[in-house]
């Protein structure tokens, strides 16, 4: 009887060898049947060997392509038979990715990477954005973008992921980040800052739902103003370019952070995928965005969709927290959540966030280096099938 996975030779018209890949260990056995002699030619050139005792091909292929091998064998002492054996060796995907610079003459050209590091008295803010391999391979642009600012002791963060299907998404992401943060900065003057400190402190000390509403309304005004302002600019940009708003489709994550007396204040607004999360301690994670994901991969919502300007919609997307202490805050695009978390459920697991944090600590806490450059380098990590742009911002 034929053993599982052993290759039949005698009486076969076509002998099929299973495919393999460069750099992957390969091992196949031939069915012994009544074979008294067997040899296979053409293996050495591709890094494989034939074992006459075992009747096996073993080794780690070094070349990719479709190779025609020759098998010679005899069974039951009959004369030698000669047949062709086809072996397909896939390339190692890592070797196939090209890194083509994007076209600097394009009207919407932007740098393929972006990184920034801000130190404040209490905490640090770092962010980096890296063009994905899928874009680098084709010489197309990075669609992700971020903007971070230190203003009145606030950390302001915007992270955006332009839609792959929208032709000017890179500009949409850039405008939404830059202009929204600029407007928020403008709004949070000394008076408004004082007001926020007061209402946040009131809420933190009393946990009164009415005070919560006051904060929600305050945040609604600031986010609503900032978003509608930058969307208007985006709309104008579209008109000037004879394009439509949809051509600039992008997701948007916004964060306002401030240390107030003995607690930390976080407010967020989000449209689309990606994640905002606060690692409170080893065992606790707080997710501050809802996932706008579809049934199929890559489907999400964008800030440029008509319904996003509705007051109710904006209101629903705002979250805030007053927290005694925390380890780190993360904001990231799906270029990072996909490889590092894979599923929505995993985003809720503190151990997954801890793993990520532990991976990042050595990069962020190294003295005498530029951590933003290190973070940018880290964003190149290898993950099969995950080659989207990656953007990550961290408060720590």
């Amino acid at each position: 009887m034929q053993e599982k996975n052993k290759i039949l030779v005698c009486g076969q018209k076509n002998i099929l060898l299973p495919n393999t890949s460069v750099g992957k260990y390969y091992e196949v056995f031939f069915e012994r049947e009544n074979i008294d002699k067997m040899q296979i030619y053409g293996l050495i050139e591709i890094g494989l060997t034939f074992d006459q005792n075992e009747l096996s091909i073993k080794g780690t292929p070094t070349k990719s392509g479709e190779f025609k091998l020759t098998i010679k064998y005899s069974d039951n002492n009959k004369p030698l038979l000669e047949k062709d054996l086809i072996l397909t060796i896939n390339p190692d995907p890592k070797s196939l990715w090209k890194n083509i610079p994007s076209n600097k003459l394009d009207k919407y050209w932007k740098e393929d990477t972006q990184s920034c590091h801000i130190i404040n008295s209490d905490r640090q803010l770092i962010a980096a954005s890296q063009r994905g391999r899928s874009h680098a391979h084709q010489g197309t642009f990075r669609d992700d973008h971020f903007k971070i600012e230190l203003h009145n002791d606030f950390f302001l963060i915007a992270v955006a992921d332009g839609a792959g299907s929208a032709k000017f998404a890179r500009k949409g992401a850039e405008i939404m980040c830059n202009e929204t943060i600029a407007k928020m900065k403008n709004y949070l003057d000394d008076t408004k800052t004082e007001e926020l400190i007061k209402i946040a402190t009131d809420f933190y000390n009393t946990n009164d739902p009415d005070k919560q509403k006051i904060i929600s309304y305050f945040l609604f005004i600031i986010f609503q103003n900032a978003i509608s302002h930058s969307l208007k600019l985006l709309q104008n940009e579209a008109i000037n370019e004879n394009a439509v708003l949809k051509d600039y489709a992008t997701t948007l994550l916004l964060i306002i952070y401030k240390k107030i007396a003995d607690f930390y204040f976080f407010a967020t607004y989000s449209v689309g995928d990606g994640a905002i999360a606060i690692l409170l301690n080893d065992n606790e994670i707080k997710i501050l965005n809802d996932q706008d994901t579809g049934e199929f991969a890559g489907q999400t919502r964008f800030i440029t969709m008509r319904e996003m300007t509705e007051d109710k919609n904006i209101y629903q997307r705002i979250k805030f927290e007053c927290i005694k202490n925390f380890v780190s805050l993360f904001a990231m695009t799906d270029g990072i959540t996909d490889p590092k978390f894979e599923t929505e459920n995993n985003l809720l697991k503190p151990e997954k966030w801890n793993n990520l944090w532990n991976e990042l600590i050595p990069i962020l806490k190294q003295p005498d280096t530029k951590p933003e450059t290190e973070l940018l380098e880290w964003l190149n990590f290898w993950s099969k099938g995950n080659h989207d742009d990656r953007t990550l911002a961290i408060i720590y």
Binding site: N19, S64, P91, E295, H387
Partner: protein
Amino acid sequence: MRRLPVYLLLDTSGSMKGDPIESLKNGLKVMVSSLRQDPFALETVWLSIITFDTQVKQIIPLTDLETFVVPEFNIPSSGATHLGKALEELCHAINRDIIHTTTEQKGDWKPLLLIITDGSPSDIGIFREMTPIIQNNIFSNIVACAAGSKAKTSYLKELTQNVYSLDTMDSNTFSSFFKWVSASVASENMGQGSVELPPPPPEIQATVI
């Protein structure tokens, strides 16, 4: 890992016997080996083949590109061209194979469909019944190819805007067609909505509706 499933519906009716099916097979080999040169495709593309003549069969279940092997085709000497039934089988296959995104799992990219026929459906009733179902947002793109002089484009046009005709069914024509398809698969790599296909090579005519 998100997969990009690609379904191939291939006509194996009697008229494909001999040179045409051999050319188609060569074309498939060209497509597979050029997809293997594309890193995105190599990591994400999964292929399935459904053949249709009088019988309809998923001869290759959804298989990753690394292990995929172009099969031998058995062509009956005569009989019907059950494209309608093939679409029905395709729906079953989709329901079986495709992974949707939930909180527990990451879904596939929207699948692609490629149909190649050298005739017209013998089961027009089922074909028309299946058309709206197939068009209902299952695929990111449907490409139909009418191969040879007897192929009718009119039915295919009921199914998709992307109908292409090949005047001849020789190896070169099929090869350039499949090369173009694989370039399109590669350009689809972000899987978001339907991406416009690049212009086909000169030996392929785009049929304008």
